[in-house]
């Protein structure tokens, strides 16, 4: 208590709230006078009395100093003194300051930037109350090789009503609607959610209300909650939303709520939410349609494992009732984990990389400081002669370095801030990437990193040079600044570790680059150039009487396909156009049963194979540039009335007919009829046989890094069609130039149909490799930075040692050593350091790159080629860094050098 009060008084004193100099002087003076008067009374002359008073009371100056010290905090006082001195020293050596600050700022800035990303994507809690209780629930069927897929609406409802471990469970799926009513039709990304969706997340609308339980009933469901940005762009930020309606796919929806601006759900930009409601007998609301995502909130005190066993018990009951549900359970994941997906390893690799860069920067700075402090030995000598203790000297050096580190930290932070501004250019490579910013945590980390770095790079040189001071030596005029052997060894050690760390980073970036190269080299199965793609979502009105027994597109859909594809193909500059249910690189997301009729039939549903399925119309293969291997493509000859035909990919052909020609074989896209429960076959349904008419090259639908799966193409007119067709248009010139005329073809057919996701195939490809590309670019940048820093380090050490060995070199040359000998002598020294560094680095890299296994494609973490190339690169750079000072050594004039001795 007392100590605290005193401390605050002293802080106040430190901040300038002290007694004025004159006030203190007056008090001391009055003291002196009283003493002098007393002395006079004892019989001294006035002059004698005053002199005597001064002597007996001790020095005035000393008294004042003691007083001032008591008045403030001497520790802080000296700290500021040292800091001011440090700033002065930095300003006096702008060259050193610039090199040091830039080195360190790059290191710190890289860390701040990557940490901002890690913080925003990985560490920041989800923007909901008590986020740790939120879980994502999905179906899993390990025995069928399915890791994670959606639930069916009836299963979800059963889980929702029968569980005992969740405070709330809701389901949702993303859907697009055609929003009309404005001047142009728009595609709206919406989430179709069950009414308790918002309360599960724990978020309330900013205006209006969330959904009511009754709005789950079909007919009462035409209400919507919109995002804050939708409210701003479509409702003019008017808080009065009552009675506002928008038309979604032709149905009027009443706006009941507006979400707050900070509400976001995942990487998607969801603009609106509508209730999930099913018409009775809706084909989607059946037991074997697995497509809804579930998010739940655990009851307080319930663990994820408890909830998992509770929910799986319910799934078992369901499976008893519905045999097709056998072996399907649910898997739980924290919602945060679910959002993150698989980007954690990539981020951690980057975080390690910037850590290494910073370490190298530290080593470099330590080296610089060692050199600089040994140049300051005279100053150090004077200071210790004047009574500075070793601790005091070390403290001064460290304060000076901290000043440097904090300045660099500030520059680094600015670098990070501006580089984060470039993030949007990388596209949406990571979930929540738009939430990345420099916040309090980043500031805190940058501050901490700066201080720790400052301590790290200054401690060794400070201790080293304050120890090596030999007072008389350094004060002697002309006394050569002495450098112990230990000093040289220390610098060598620093260079070795720099080379080792740089090697690790370079190998990591080499691996990332090679892996990207492998990814680019993958034969995607289609040709990328000059292709425009987009998709259109057809409203339910295009299929007014859904008939499960019908094969092929409903009449209006078929009409839409015919008119638009024909219209587009007639445009000048279009080579071919076609429709496909899902474009390449969009995911392997539509599978069907597959039975080859010339092979033994499967004995049960479980034993029936699945293959990928794509519905096509028009000249899809020509537009995509898929190669024909055998037979023919599907085209305008395949109509609803002609022989049912399919085209298969090479993977499927290899799997079922490895040594035979598949063309002409008969297949089915459903299980053998005797295996299907009677009630599941729609009345009037015809189970068709298809003839294989062609084999085409494998197309990567899942992603360039995934193996193509067996796949069947059928005409949209003959098998399952699609209500959200994607178009592929092969053009002669710039694909984007055609967007306007294509749009008018579509709106001529139906003015309420918007085109969405208008992209060239090149854009789709580059988006699909955006994350590995960013990883490779960043790692390459950090690796290059590390190499430059290490090279500077080697250069510094070698040129320093050349300047130290001038005399020796002079003697050698005087005794007949050739320039080549000297060159070799100096380079050998540098290469020895580099060799040790490389050896250590290779050992380190072998251990460290294993962490990268998950982010690499087609390259092993110990890829020998990468290791060899990088070692050669490091050797070459080292040689260059040694060669420059070595060449300087050969220019030593023996006579000058010897006279200097």
């Amino acid at each position: 208590m007392k100590a605290l009060r005193q401390f605050f008084r002293r802080i106040k004193g430190f901040l300038g709230e002290r007694r004025s100099e004159s006030d203190l002087a007056a008090e001391l003076e009055s003291h002196l006078r009283m003493q002098a008067e007393e002395n006079e009374r004892r019989g001294m002359t006035p002059g004698e009395a005053r002199r005597h008073a001064l002597v007996s009371s001790g020095g005035i100056e000393q008294a004042r100093q003691n007083y001032r010290q008591q008045e403030t905090l001497p520790f802080l006082e000296t700290l500021f003194q040292d800091a001011r001195y440090g700033v002065r020293m930095l300003r006096k050596n702008p060259g050193f300051t610039a090199v040091a600050a830039v080195t360190l700022a790059l290191g710190i800035g890289a860390n701040s930037a990557i940490f901002s990303v890690v913080n925003g994507v990985l560490l920041r809690p989800l923007p909901y109350p008590e986020p740790s209780r939120l879980i994502s629930i999905s179906n899993t069927a390990p025995s069928k090789g399915l890791d994670k897929f959606g639930a069916s609406p009836p299963d979800f409802r059963r889980l929702r009503s029968q569980n005992h471990t969740l405070a709330s469970l809701s389901a949702f799926y993303h859907a697009t609607f055609n929003l009309t009513g404005g001047d142009k039709p728009e595609r709206l990304l919406a989430a179709v959610v069950t009414p308790e969706y918002f309360s599960t997340l724990g978020v309330k609308p900013r205006f209006g209300r969330a959904f009511l339980a009754g709005e789950e009933t079909f007919g009462a469901h035409r209400v919507m909650v919109v995002s804050h940005s939708f409210w701003r762009s479509h409702l003019n930020s008017d808080p009065d939303i009552s009675g506002k309606t928008f038309s979604l796919d032709g149905d009027p929806y009443l706006i009941v709520g507006v979400m707050p601006p900070e509400f976001y759900t995942s990487a998607f930009k969801v603009e609106a939410w509508v209730p999930m409601a099913w018409k009775s007998g809706d084909n989607m609301d059946t037991h074997n349609n697995y497509f809804v995502n579930m998010v739940g909130r655990l009851r307080p005190g319930i663990t994820q494992a408890q909830a998992a066993s509770d929910l799986n018990a319910i799934m078992l009951q369901i499976a008893e009732q519905f045999p097709e549900n056998r072996d399907i359970g649910v898997g739980l994941k924290s919602l945060a984990e679910d959002w993150l997906g698989d980007s954690r390893p990539a981020l951690l690799v980057l975080l390690c990389a910037v850590g290494l860069v910073l370490l190298i920067a530290c080593a470099n700075l330590a080296n610089l400081l060692l050199a600089r402090f040994s140049g300051r030995e005279k100053e150090i000598g004077i200071r210790s002669a004047l009574g500075a203790s070793r601790g005091r000297l070390v403290r001064q050096f460290i304060t000076e370095s901290l000043v440097l580190a904090l300045i660099s930290g500030a520059i680094g932070l600015a670098l990070a801030y501006f580089s984060l501004g470039l993030l949007p250019m990388a596209g949406s490579v990571l979930p929540r990437i738009d939430q990345v910013r420099v916040d309090g945590w980043v500031l805190l980390l940058t501050g901490a990193v700066s201080v720790v770095t400052g301590l790290l790079f200054s401690l060794i040189p400070a201790l080293q040079s304050s120890r090596s001071v030999k007072l008389n030596e350094s004060l002697k005029e002309g006394g050569r600044t002495g450098h112990g052997v230990g000093n040289g060894r220390l610098r060598g050690g620093l260079v070795i570790s720099e080379v080792a760390l740089a090697l690790v980073l370079l190998i990591a970036s080499g691996l990332a680059i090679r892996s990207l190269q492998k990814l680019f080299d993958v034969d995607s199965g289609f040709s990328r150039g000059q292709m425009l793609t987009f998709d259109v979502s057809l409203p339910d009105a295009y299929d007014p009487q859904p008939d499960p027994a019908r094969l092929g597109s409903p009449p209006r859909v078929a009409e839409f396909f015919r008119e638009t594809v024909e219209g587009i193909e007639h445009l000048p500059g279009v080579k071919a156009a076609g429709i496909i249910s899902n474009l390449p690189l969009n995911g392997e997301n539509w599978s069907k049963f597959f039975v080859a009729l010339d092979r033994p039939l499967p004995s049960s549903l479980d034993a029936t194979d699945h293959v990928q399925y794509r519905a096509v119309y028009g000249h899809t293969f020509g537009a995509l540039g898929v190669h024909l291997v055998n037979g023919r493509f599907l085209d305008e000859h395949d109509q609803a009335t002609t022989t049912p035909s399919v085209v298969i990919n090479e993977t499927l052909a290899r799997k079922y007919w490895p040594n035979a020609d598949p063309v002409g074989r008969l297949i089915m896209l459903n299980p053998p009829v005797n295996l299907i429960p009677k009630e599941l076959i729609p009345r009037g349904a015809v189970l068709r046989r298809f003839a294989v008419v062609g084999v085409v090259s494998d197309v990567h639908y899942g992603g360039l890094d995934q193996k193509p799966e067996p796949l069947v193409y059928a005409s949209a007119l003959q098998e399952d069609s699609t209500m959200s067709p994607a178009f592929a248009v092969r053009t002669e010139g710039d694909p984007k130039a055609l967007v306007g005329s294509i749009r008018s073809i579509i709106s001529r057919f139906d003015k309420n149909l918007p085109m969405a996701n208008v992209l060239t195939m090149n854009e789709i490809v580059s988006t699909s490799v955006a994350q590995p590309k960013l990883e490779a670019v960043l790692l390459g940048f950090f690796g290059g930075l590390a190499m430059v820093l290490a090279a500077v380090g080697i250069y510094g050490v070698i040129s320093y040692s050349v300047s130290q060995r001038k005399g020796e070199i002079g003697i050698r040359m005087a005794l007949g050593a050739s320039r080549g000998n000297v060159l070799a002598l100096i380079c050998k020294q540098g290469l020895m350091l580099a060799a040790v560094g490389v050896a250590a680095g290779v050992a380190l890299a072998l251990a460290a790159t294993r962490l990268m296994a998950k982010v690499l494609f087609g390259v092993t973490p110990t890829d020998p080629a990468t290791f060899i190339w990088i070692i050669l690169l490091v050797a070459a750079v080292t040689l260059l860094a040694c060669y420059i000072p070595a060449r300087r050594a050969t220019r030593v004039d023996p006579i000058v050098a010897l006279r200097h001795e």
Binding site: A26, S30, H31, E37, G58, G59, Q70
Partner: protein, 113 residues
């Protein structure tokens, strides 16, 4: 800031407080003279130590200072004991007596030269 001053200041503070307790408000010179007198002139109180000690006591809230007039109509800064200071003095005096009593048992009388 060696250790010696610390110990010296500790005892000096007690002497200052005791002086102010018996004499009432007093200026720095008066405090110094009084301490020297009581010690039988075996102590010299230099103002290099006295004034920082007074400042410390002021910071701790045990004494308060104000400008006033001395006996000789001279401007002088007067120090007086606060309530906290009086309490502190009592506590410290007790502790000090206890300490000296214990120490006395360790140190034989003959040691006095």
């Amino acid at each position: 800031m060696g250790d010696r001053t610390e110990v010296w200041q500790g005892t000096l503070a007690l002497m200052v407080l005791r002086t102010l307790d018996t004499m009432g408000p007093l200026h720095g010179y008066g405090i110094a003279r009084r301490i020297e007198q009581i010690s039988g002139d075996s102590l010299v109180v230099q103002y290099g130590t006295l004034y920082p000690a007074l400042l410390k006591l002021e910071q701790e809230g045990y004494i308060a200072a104000a400008w006033g007039l001395s006996e000789n109509n001279r401007k002088a800064r007067y120090y007086r004991l606060t309530r906290a200071g009086r309490r502190h003095l009592q506590r410290e005096a007790r502790d000090w007596q206890k300490t000296t009593a214990i120490l006395a048992r360790f140190l034989p009388r003959e040691e006095e030269s």
